[in-house]
């Protein structure tokens, strides 16, 4: 995958993730062009289109468009399900996610995406594993805030404490 864009029906960009090096100017140009192209399409149209030498796969969820650019040999349908799995992850994390969650917690949306996709490739498809990683991070933070930062956090002691916290959390 070369990049992923989330934008609203009004054309406001909500999240952008680039997996290829491009200048800011190019990114802006691509975004403008694609947002326009996708928004102009009617609801029943197919989710794929050729654009420059890339394939665009997009899907609308409520007020948000999720739009991925993939290369010629990449699989369109599985990309559509990448989008869906990401939506599921956001939904699980935020609890019935809406556009506002992503606006106000954009950094979380990025963190979740990084656990799921890395360098444009699927890293982990298990919902449990992705959310575990994020929740661990949240817990780590709570834990640090409660107990203060340990001087030399050893992974063992950390994970021990976290396991306790996790088990409390899941109850």
């Amino acid at each position: 995958m070369q990049f992923m864009l989330l934008f609203s029906r009004q054309g406001k960009l909500r999240l952008q993730k680039w997996y290829v090096p491009l200048s800011d100017k190019e990114k802006k140009k691509i975004t403008r062009e694609l947002v326009q192209t996708v928004l102009a399409r009617k609801p029943k149209m197919c989710s794929f289109l050729e654009w420059r030498d890339l394939k665009i796969v997009y899907k609308r969820y409520a007020s948000l468009y999720f739009c991925c650019a993939i290369e010629d040999q990449d699989n369109e349908l599985i990309t559509l399900e990448i989008i869906h799995r990401y939506v599921e992850l956001l939904d699980k994390y935020f609890g019935s996610v809406c556009e506002l969650d992503i606006i106000f917690n954009f950094e979380k949306a990025y963190f979740i995406l990084d656990e799921f996709l890395l360098g444009g490739e699927v890293q982990e498809t298990s919902k449990k594993n992705v959310l575990k990683a994020i929740e661990q991070a949240d817990l780590l933070q709570e834990f640090q805030e409660v107990l203060g930062v340990p001087r030399n956090p050893s992974p063992d002691s950390l994970s021990h404490v976290m396991n306790i916290l996790m088990s409390q959390c899941t109850k």
Binding site: L13, L15, P21, D24, K28, K42, K44, M45, C46, S47, F48, L49, E50, D53, D72, Q73, N75, E76, L77, I78, L80, E81, I82, H84, R85, F94, G95, L100, D101, I103, F104, N105, F106, E107, K108, Y110, F111, D114, L118, G119, G120, E121, V122, Q123, E124, T125, S126, K127, K128, N129, A133, Q136, A137, D138, Q141, V149, P153, S154, P155, L158
Partner: protein, 978 residues
């Protein structure tokens, strides 16, 4: 404002975001942002050290502002500070800022790299993953330089956590893609392949992407992954829908991993190991079978995931292109999807079938869906689906359905979206040309294209129709009639005027007999369009007019009047003015003969790949080139439908309209010096050849002297060719050619390459090419012994007055030829006048102290300067009659020395250099040819006829040329070939 659900709430950030959202106008938003930026700047600059939380909050605000589309030029240092924090959330925000906003500030990168290094070494998996994510997100070369060596170690370390391995694999992939040279191959690569066996599905999922990329670059080093991938795939495909727990997606086991494994296998040909192959074929069949099973869920996610695997499976089957059974099953499956209610599936089925159409096993199966595809082109509501349908029609087109497909595409073109019109035009043009059975259909199709979508008909397309009409005399009359009719339309496209102008200028005479299209009518029709046309078209029309003066003398006065008009002679456009002035003068001063020569009909264009095809490839990008490659399915169609390209156009003026026209205004290309662009090889021949002529090898008499005396100073070639003449005591006159010399030379009358001579010591090979009156020959001297040849001196000699007929310029070769070595000598040749005897090649050298010498006839015969000429039967007979003087004809009746095979004869005649004309001789057994011998001083038109008599095993060969000795000589040369 929603409650922040998880993690730490940064109240200040939430308030700021709310403020921005509440802004009523763009100006208000910018104002609010500027206020915030000023605030953050002052906080960062303030003397009071900020606590981590505040820093994090402000960096987050900057990030938000950046994501709104504003430029951020500060805060990097604070972000780097956050990176080094021990607090996880601070670190995380620091990394996020860097990932999103990093620029190539090398100072900064160094600081970041330091923080990353610490985190990678921390042994805290969460921190390590953050660091790896950052490297993968930035992926710059600097990062590669710093970490490319460490990451493989982390990836294969036994004690790395699974999540770390996953991140390391994809991080490495990103670095490898960006700068492969920085990633050291080594022991880790073998272990990476075994990650395919890892128990953790997430690790396998991440690792496959890395392995696929490595395989693409070094297929041989990673071959072992084939069997591992097959067994992993097999386990997934055969598992029940719940076996894989969280890796099952809507009842489909591990769809992402399956797709990735199938992609990996597409890096390789089918597995060689029969067991592995068997297992794989079983997998592919299982996937195809599952597609027929009822769905386990009504959810679209279920069918998407399942079909994603199915399409990838079909891609693999197409990639292998070796299992007819699977290919046909794949095609049937796609056929079902063509009528599916899901637009997405119809789209993908059309796309996938396009590649299937190019496989010989499934081409026919694809063709059975033609009606569905045509229907899709007509009825699909989504332009991107229609586009796929048009692509598929193009891909499935062959001679059997070309007319249907072309007419459907033409019909589609009338309503097609503007965005894809040009591409459709190109495709129609290509198909019409490639599968034309009769060229009148081709001409009709292209004229229809111009009529329907004139604006989208690019130069390539209309140039092409002119080339084809020029090269095919059977369609010229039809073309003239058709363009004449098309031009009658009150509003016709400018491209039609261009094509019409050109064709009538060339072939208007073919319809001039009909009073409805008499010359004055043709002219006034064209001229009625003149004023509405662009400069380029008007320039073209002016050339048509001067051609008319030649074709139809009765129009001379009218046309001169037009040219003389102030609007032409004093036109502000230089090109138009120049043409008007020159054409007017030409028409007034030149005699009819000169005019006829200058304005002669265009010679045929040399055959080449279609430039339209090249354009379509360019348009579709390099990836599409193979799908559009045509030779694959229809090799037999090449001869008549093979390409033509306007090579001469490279010579003429840069103005686009002048491309074809510049030529016509010039004298016929044959008489012109070789154009600079005609062929790299020949360029220096034309520039140096004549100048170097005095220095070309000495005549026999002179050669004798030149051995004894120092070479004449004005003869640089002698200096080069004979570096140490005095050192050779055994020097002697150039001997007469060896007895076999004639026979050896005759082998090359109809071919240009081969071995000229061979004995125990020496082999001489020849490679040559000729164009117009120029040639270049490469002689290869091979020393067959193990002993060095010394004083090796090859010389080209012109017996008699050959020098005034043929200029041969030689390049010097080394005086020593090592044992077993080969040296090459280049000869540039220019034919000045017709000649009868070939030049001699004298080779002298010392072998083991003994002088050796050898004289051969150089295989340069007059027929090498033949230019084939196509002509219709009528023209041929007319010219044949014109050459009816007894001395113009040479005839020979002789016995066949080789088996009488029509194909071989044909090849020989073509090799001889003349064009072969079909449908001229009433007896189809006979061969008729025509050509022009190009010399610098003159051209000799040649017609030939060869009548085989199979019963008597005899031939009768008749040559007619405008020069008596040439007829005889050609007759002799050619008679020896059969």
């Amino acid at each position: 404002m929603p409650a922040v659900s998880k993690g730490d709430g940064m109240r200040g950030l939430a308030v700021f975001i709310s403020d921005i959202r509440n802004c009523k106008s763009k100006e208000a938003e910018i104002k609010r942002i500027n206020k915030e930026l000023a605030n953050i700047r002052s906080k960062f600059k303030g003397d009071k050290a900020l606590d981590g939380y505040s820093k994090k909050k402000y960096v987050c605000k900057l990030l938000f502002i950046f994501l709104l589309g504003h430029d951020i030029d500060f805060g990097h240092m604070e972000a780097v500070n956050l990176l080094s924090s021990n607090k996880y959330t601070e670190k995380q925000i620091g990394y996020l800022f860097i990932s999103v906003l990093v620029n190539s500030n090398s100072e900064l990168i160094r600081l970041i790299n330091n923080a990353i290094k610490n985190d990678l070494a921390s042994r805290n998996p969460t921190f390590m993953c953050l660091a790896l994510h950052c490297i993968a997100n930035v992926g710059s070369r600097e990062m590669g330089e710093a970490f490319a060596a460490d990451i493989p170690r982390i990836l294969v370390a036994g004690d790395s956590m699974d999540s770390v391995k996953q991140s390391a694999a994809l991080c490495l992939l990103r670095l490898y893609k960006a700068s492969p040279d920085l990633v050291p191959m080594g022991e880790w690569t073998a272990r990476v392949v075994h990650l395919l066996n890892d128990q953790h599905m997430g690790v396998v999922t991440a690792a496959v992407s890395l392995i696929t990329c490595l395989c693409k670059k070094n297929p041989d080093d990673f071959k072992t992954c084939i069997s591992l991938a097959v067994s992993r795939l097999s386990r997934i495909v055969s598992s029940a829908s719940t076996d894989l727990q969280d890796y099952t997606y809507y009842f489909v086991p591990a769809p992402w991993l399956s797709v990735k494994l199938l992609r990996l296998l597409q890096c390789y040909p089918p597995p060689e190991d029969a067991a592995v192959k068997g297992r794989l074929v079983e997998c592919l069949e299982t996937v195809l079978n599952k597609a027929q099973e009822p769905p386990k869920s009504k959810k679209v996610q279920h069918s998407n995931a399942k079909n994603a695997i199915l399409f990838e499976t079909i891609s693999l089957i197409i990639h292998y292109d070796s299992e007819p059974n699977l290919l046909v099953r794949a095609c049937n499956q796609l056929g079902q999807f063509l009528q599916h209610r899901e637009t997405n599936l119809r789209y993908l089925a059309l796309e996938s079938m396009c590649t299937l159409a190019s496989s010989e096993f499934s081409h026919e199966a694809v063709k059975t869906h033609i009606d569905t595809v045509i229907n899709a082109l007509k009825t699909e509501r989504d332009v991107s689906v229609r586009q796929r349908a048009a692509d598929l029609l193009y891909a499935m087109c062959d001679r059997s359905n070309a007319k249907q497909i072309v007419s459907e595409m033409l019909r589609y073109l009338e309503t097609a979206d503007y965005a894809i019109r040009e591409e459709i035009v190109l495709k129609v043009a290509i198909l019409a040309e490639k599968y034309a059975v009769d060229y009148s259909w081709y001409v009709d199709t292209i004229l229809n294209l111009i009529r329907i979508a004139g604006d989208y008909v690019s130069e390539e397309v209309w140039y092409r129709v002119l080339q084809i009409v020029t090269n095919r005399d059977d369609v010229q009359g039809y073309a003239a009639k058709t363009v004449f009719e098309a031009l009658q339309a009150p509003a016709c496209h400018e491209n039609m005027v261009k094509v019409g102008g050109y064709i009538l200028g060339e072939f208007g005479n073919l319809i001039a007999g009909d009073p409805r299209s008499s010359p004055p009518v043709q002219f006034s029709l064209l001229h009625s369009k003149f004023h509405l046309c662009s400069v380029a078209t008007r320039a073209l029309l002016l050339s048509t007019y001067i051609k008319f003066i030649n074709l139809f003398p009765e129009t001379k006065a009218t046309i001169q009047g037009v040219l003389r008009a102030g609007s032409q002679l004093r036109n502000a456009d230089v090109e138009l003015q120049q043409r008007a002035v020159e054409y007017l003068t030409l028409s007034s001063v030149a005699s009819t003969d000169v005019l006829a020569t200058v304005l002669e009909e265009m010679p045929p264009f040399p055959e080449r790949e279609s430039s339209i095809l090249a354009k379509l490839k360019r348009k579709k990008g390099p990836g599409a080139a193979s799908a559009l490659d045509d030779g694959r399915r229809d090799a037999s169609s090449n001869d008549i439908n093979g390409g033509v390209e306007p090579t001469p156009s490279t010579v003429s003026t840069p103005s686009p309209s002048a491309d074809l026209l510049g030529l016509r205004a010039a004298p016929p290309p044959a008489a012109a010096p070789a154009p600079a662009g005609a062929g790299n090889l020949l360029v220096d021949v034309s520039s140096e050849g004549p100048a170097a002529q005095p220095g070309l090898g000495p005549t026999p008499e002179e050669a004798f002297l030149s051995e004894l005396e120092p070479p004449a100073p004005e003869s640089p070639m002698a200096l080069l060719a004979d570096p140490a003449p005095a050192a050779d005591p055994g020097s002697e006159d150039i001997g007469s050619p060896i007895p076999e010399a004639d026979e050896l030379m005759n082998k090359f009358v109809c071919k240009n390459n081969g071995v000229l001579f061979e004995n125990q010591l020496l082999q001489i090979g020849v490679k040559s090419e000729f164009r117009q009156n120029l040639g270049r020959m490469y002689l290869f001297y091979g020393n067959k012994t193990s002993v060095q040849f010394q004083s090796f001196t090859p010389t080209v000699v012109h017996p008699g007055d050959l020098q005034t007929h043929l200029a041969v310029q030689t390049k010097r070769v080394a005086a020593q030829v090592d044992g077993g070595a080969q040296v090459q000598q280049v000869l540039n040749i220019e034919c000045l006048r017709d000649f009868l005897t070939p030049p001699l090649l004298s080779v002298r050298f010392r072998y083991g102290g003994a002088p050796q010498s050898l004289t051969l006839k150089l295989p340069v015969t007059i027929n090498k300067f033949f230019q084939p000429t196509e002509m219709a039967a009528q023209d041929f007979f007319q010219r044949w009659k014109q050459l009816s003087l007894p001395q113009q004809e040479a005839q020979k009746i002789f016995k066949a020395t080789h088996p009488m095979d029509a194909e071989v004869t044909k090849a020989k005649l073509l090799g001889f250099g003349s064009a072969l004309l079909d449908n001229v001789d009433p007896n189809p057994e006979n061969f008729v040819g025509a050509g022009i011998i190009q010399t610098k001083a003159l051209q000799v038109g040649c017609l030939l006829r060869l009548e085989p008599n199979a019963q008597a095993q005899m031939y009768r060969l008749t040559l007619r040329t405008s020069k008596e000795p040439v007829s005889r000589h050609l007759c002799e040369l050619l008679a020896q070939q059969f």
